[in-house]
Symmetry: C2
Subunit: 327 residues, 2 copies
């Protein structure tokens, strides 16, 4: 028998899930298109059927729990609450819905928190008590670990670094406010910067060959890797915004390590090097040259599944510790 | 016999200390002028002599530990490290120095962290697991509590909210950088704002009667309480900067409560009301109308002593919990 956690990452476009052992080996994975399902119930039923198949195909696997990463996933309530990028509206009680199909402990959080627990359980943050994971996808999320514990805050919604205001009256954000970090630093933010800088500067750039809607974070990253000066400037602008924000959050929680995770983070040194430079320039003296910035080690398509599955091992560990302290 | 903690608050100008029981009753206090002592050793010797007198005068008191709040006080190292507003330079090993005189457990942290533990032990944050204390004195400090524990961070220096940059290329800060929150929001910050607004506006104000060096946080607060329009505007500007910063830190740690502590916080509603307004205006939707802002309940001259003393009770509680978990 081999204990495995079921890791599920519910995204606006795709839902990824799989079985992961306590060492971080992903033994089975599957992807469904989230938007194909009119209701969360229908998606969950489809997940159940697929997981059944996975478990039947290898009867040595024994599922011990379900970890779910979801947009606006709330750890305390086991819910998705008003997620702007899902078509299912309002509050969705995931635990209640999953209970219809699975008789297992179920833990919910958002994708950035899941990534942080993933790094702590299997990744580059193993054994590190104070660190931050910044997820650079369509938006910008963060999972903050202090004293070895993820910070959920009073209501389960801590870690919204992407919605700290970095520019008074800045860019309009999907959240309804202006100047949020994620309007500058994210796959969508960097594209907005590209459009502005292409308009402001007249210098040549391979990005000018693309029609407006073909300029993506990926095409900007590719241009930067080829040494395109404007693309490098776009990365520099993005990294500056991120670097200053990281300098500020370092002053607040004083982490040892910052892990960059997700799409934009895969641009590697194009983003980590200038971010590190701007962070150092803006750090308070006592924090200088102390904080590492590295890309996630949970690479490839299964990182989100691993993050979600790690919730299970983390909760089992916590329960174990509580039991020990009661005896 | 009555157990008491020795609470010591080392400040740039005065050092306050006293004996405090576990309920927060201050049974003896004393103040010394920090700048009268050429070396930390000499100050500590004087504290020892005064504490001896306190203990001799009431032999039922039994000291169980020493808690020290000091500028740039480091919890992990038991040191003061490069405090800009003390004349003693470099790293001062407080624990080593105190050990010459006291055979007691000694705990060190900065004044804002001490205030946070004070609020948790005796004050308005009793029983609250996620809250922030913002100290508004000459500078701006913060103590952040998550999951019921103070956040010290990797190196013991977490909680430097006053040194988050809120304005790129903003006001020059004593830390050598520009645009730190405390250059706007603190006793010195509000005076800078007063000078700027007095120069920018031509409207009448009782503040114009003062010579430049007589404009203090106190005189501005008094003018505001009398309804002086410009003084109110100065408070409004200050509260806006603080409110936006608080909205940002709420997004990061999601506290239930924010406690304002120290000189400027004593201006009461002049500062709490507009701060709350600007914080609410700038909060992400999921955090709106959830976070209370209230002034500290540790009032009067002994608040800093109480904060420092609370370190002792907090550490004893932690040790007790650890012992229980080992048995």
């Amino acid at each position: 028998m081999k204990n495995v956690a079921i890791g599920i990452d519910i995204g606006g476009t795709n839902t990824l899930f799989g079985l992961v052992d306590s060492q971080g080996n992903c033994v089975a994975t599957k992807s469904l298109v989230t938007t194909d399902y009119e209701t969360p119930e229908k998606l969950i039923k489809a997940i159940f059927q697929e997981v059944q198949l996975m478990l039947v195909s290898d009867t040595t696997l024994f599922p011990v729990g379900i970890g779910i990463g979801a947009p606006n996933g709330n750890y305390y309530n086991g819910t998705i609450e008003y997620a702007p990028n899902l078509k299912w509206k309002g509050v969705i009680n995931l635990i209640q819905l999953f209970r219809k199909y699975f008789d297992l402990p179920i833990y919910v959080t958002n994708d950035a928190n899941a990534a942080a627990i993933g790094e702590m359980t299997y990744g580059v943050a193993k054994g590190i008590k104070n660190f931050i994971v910044v997820t650079l996808g369509t938006g910008l999320g963060s999972g903050i670990v202090c004293n070895g514990e993820l910070i959920y805050g009073h209501d389960g919604f801590a870690g919204e670094l992407g919605h700290t205001i970095v520019e008074e009256n800045g860019r309009e954000c999907a959240c309804g406010r202006k100047g949020c970090l994620e309007t500058y630093v994210s796959a969508t933010g960097i594209v907005r910067t590209a459009h502005i800088l292409l308009a402001e500067y007249s210098k040549a750039s391979m990005l000018r060959r693309f029609s407006d809607d073909k300029i993506t974070a990926k095409s900007i990253a590719e241009a930067a890797q080829k040494g395109d000066a404007l693309a490098l400037e776009i990365f520099d602008y993005t990294a500056k915004k991120l670097g200053i924000s990281l300098a500020n959050i370092v002053a607040i929680t004083s982490p040892e390590l910052i892990v960059l995770f997700g799409g934009l983070a895969n641009s590697g040194e194009s983003i980590t090097d200038p971010t590190k430079k701007y962070m150092e320039e803006n750090l308070l003296l006592i924090f200088k040259h102390k904080v590492k910035i590295i890309p996630s080690s949970l690479k490839g398509g299964v990182a989100a599944i691993m993050g979600a599955s790690s919730l299970v091992w983390n909760e089992l560990k916590k329960e174990q510790l509580e039991k020990t302290s009661l005896n």
